[in-house]
């Protein structure tokens, strides 16, 4: 016959050790949560700074617009263009680095670039109207899905690029810019309801690149020299 015992001491120590490991785990969790909070706070401050800078620019633009001071607004525009260049530079450096891949960093850099470029487009559109410049900026939004007319599009996009140069902006709406509010605002403000719209300054065309001749004709309707 075995003399049965309950090893109370082992049960107790095992419980104590398990609880202490659990507590250590929770402490690690709290530490990481703290890191996360400070990281998010830093990120938030940076975003807030950028937002305030953009807001100041808009305010300046509004002031100078009322005063019709095109020289100052153009300087403002140049500042935004530098932002675009910086964002593009960061994106290009990342794309040529060994880390490049479809990941969250690429997504963030892409969005940063797109967002700055969109801001620039909005600003330059406003200045175009105000100062009556001959060169209008063009924004082409396209979808990468179900692209039956890709060849036609490529040709038309090259044409737009040649015609508008630095002032043309091209974005895919279905991936990188999915969450950009600006896209939604532009879409609504210009009444874009169908795919592939081209927004040139104040006007827009939709379903533009299904037929190349028609597309080129309509692009050429806008200001600037006809290329072909």
């Amino acid at each position: 016959m075995v003399i049965r015992r309950v090893s109370t001491r082992i049960y107790f120590i095992a419980g104590l050790l398990t609880l202490s490991i659990l507590a250590s785990g929770l402490l690690v969790g709290f530490f990481i949560a703290d890191l996360r909070a400070s990281f998010l706070e830093q990120w938030h401050r940076r975003q807030l700074g950028e937002f305030e800078r953009g807001e100041r620019r808009q305010l300046e633009l509004a002031n100078f617009r009322s005063a019709k001071n095109c020289a100052v607004t153009q300087r403002n525009l140049l500042g935004t263009m530098e932002d675009v260049d910086t964002a593009r530079g960061k994106l290009e450096r990342y794309l040529t680095s060994t880390l490049a891949g479809y990941n969250s960093r690429l997504l963030r850099l892409n969005r940063e670039y797109a967002s700055t470029a969109l801001r620039y487009w909005l600003l330059s559109s406003a200045i175009w109207k105000m100062c009556e410049f001959a060169d209008a900026p063009g924004l082409y939004l396209y979808s990468g899905r179900g692209c039956d007319g890709c060849r036609v599009r490529e040709e038309a996009l090259t044409f737009v690029r040649d015609k508008y140069g630095q002032r043309s902006f091209v974005f895919a709406v279905d991936t990188d810019l999915l969450r950009e509010e600006e896209i939604e605002t532009i879409r609504k403000s210009h009444g874009v309801t169908t795919g592939s719209p081209l927004v040139i300054a104040g006007s827009r065309d939709s379903g533009l690149f299904r037929n190349i001749e028609e597309s080129l004709r309509r692009v050429n309707q806008h200001d600037g020299p006809a290329l072909r």
């Binding site: 049965r4 309950v6 120590i13 785990g25 969790g29």
Partner: protein, 425 residues
């Protein structure tokens, strides 16, 4: 629902970690004692002083294995006149009987008998052998197992302690040749080591079929094997524990068993084992949390009763929290936003941030697996088997995936229990 699932997963982490720490503490407490014992303990008795032993081989449709098993038992390094072997052909419909008779021809003059009876199950076959056994010790031997020559000489000295009713050998998987068998090889070693730790607290919950040695007198006093039971070995163990008999895990000799090599065979075997264990644990549930049964009542019985259900709940909760719930949320969001689901999904995958993860849970799981690895290391050391013997893939597979595989078996077990489906040996 999500909160419940998260609590459930955390609760299970806690229970598993507690159990691992508990057994490690048992190991630490007893480590010195084990070291002091040292080396192998071989019987120093002269052959004339050897006790008589009866080996019973129940066989049902074992024409492929019976020859090797009989030859293995007859090859035991033991006094021939003290060793009795009884083969019980339990109504086989194949050539088991003919093969057994042919092999018996090689051992004329030895105490070797064949009894043929209508098929009544393993318990009944063992009882048939037990009724006519003349040995002081009785060793059931599965017909698909092999034994080392020196087995009895190393196992019988454990019976010098009069409290000992049964001695278990170190059971290993015979020549594993695919991943499933290799993982079982690792599982068996860990299981044997656990039994060693359990034995320290008189907590062994199963005496496996291949060559566990019993005191014949005690077996008869307890009424032999339960003939209606699908896991008569589990039932007998629980009965021995109810009567406060001592069971010992021996590390000095080895028995080899042929592990299932296909998922289908594995599932069938485990379904019977797990179902039988659960049903027997439920049958003897009065022992649970009963101080009269000491640690067995406190640590083993609750585990045996709830283990399957707990594993099922954990797997379900993990699937729900880590897969189904996030997926459902993403689909819901994608539908609400009216965007292309694939684009949305791709973007969700890229929104991976290290700070967004459940680090406390990872830490806890890492501790569990590290301690689990320590136990596996000890198990291999005690079994004199290098961890890399069958490749390094086996250990991670055993640690991370094998429990899921066995949990799937529990799904079948509980489905069978709900449907009232019984199992035949």
């Amino acid at each position: 629902m999500l909160t419940f699932a998260v609590w459930l997963v955390w609760g299970t982490y806690f229970v598993f970690l507690y159990l691992i720490i508990f057994w490690l503490l048992v190991l630490i407490r007893e480590n010195n004692a084990v070291v002091e014992k040292g080396g192998l303990v071989e019987s120093k008795n002269k052959p004339s002083d050897y006790p008589t032993v009866t080996v019973a081989i129940p066989a049902w449709n074992e024409e492929e294995n019976i020859r090797e098993t009989i030859e293995s038992v007859m090859g035991l390094d033991y006094s021939p006149d003290k060793l009795e072997v009884i083969i019980v052909n339990d109504g086989s419909t194949d050539q088991t009987e003919a093969v057994a008779k042919r092999v018996m021809g090689q051992y004329a003059g030895r105490k070797l008998r064949l009894i043929t009876q209508p098929n009544r199950g393993k318990g009944a076959a063992l009882n048939t052998a037990l009724q006519t056994a003349q040995g002081e010790f009785f060793a059931p031997m599965d017909a698909d197992s092999l034994i080392r020559r020196d087995a009895l000489r190393y196992m019988l000295p454990d019976f010098e302690d009069q409290k000992v009713a049964a001695v278990l050998p170190l059971m290993k998987v015979w020549q594993p040749h695919n991943l499933l068998q290799r993982v079982q090889w690792c599982e068996y070693l860990v299981s044997v080591f656990y039994k060693h730790l359990m034995a320290i607290l008189d907590c062994i919950s199963i005496i496996p079929g291949p060559f566990s040695v019993h005191r014949t007198r005690i077996l008869r006093e307890l009424g032999g094997f339960d003939e209606q039971n699908i896991t008569e070995d589990v039932e007998l163990t629980l009965r021995l524990q109810t009567h406060h008999h001592k069971i010992v895990q021996n590390f000095h000799t080895e028995v080899y068993t042929k592990a299932p090599d296909t998922w289908r065979r594995f599932y069938r075997q485990r379904n019977r084992w797990y179902k039988g264990t659960f049903l027997n644990a439920w049958r003897y549930r009065k022992m649970a949390l009963n101080t009269k049964y000491g640690d067995f009542g406190f640590i083993q019985m609750p585990r045996m009763v709830v283990e399957g259900a707990l594993l099922l709940l954990v797997l379900g909760a993990l699937l729900y929290t880590c897969l189904l719930n996030p997926l459902a949320t993403q689909v819901r969001l994608a539908l609400l936003k009216g965007v292309d689901p694939w684009t949305h999904f791709a973007q969700t995958l890229t929104d991976f941030s290290l700070v967004d993860h459940e680090w406390p849970a990872y830490f806890f799981v890492a501790v569990i697996y590290t301690l689990g690895l320590v136990l596996i290391r000890y198990a291999h050391k005690h079994a004199r088997e290098p961890m890399r013997k069958h490749g390094y893939l086996v250990i991670p597979f055993y640690l991370f995936l094998y429990w899921m595989l066995t949990t799937i078996v529990y799904v079948g077990v509980f489905a069978d229990l709900v449907r009232g489906k019984t199992h035949r040996w």
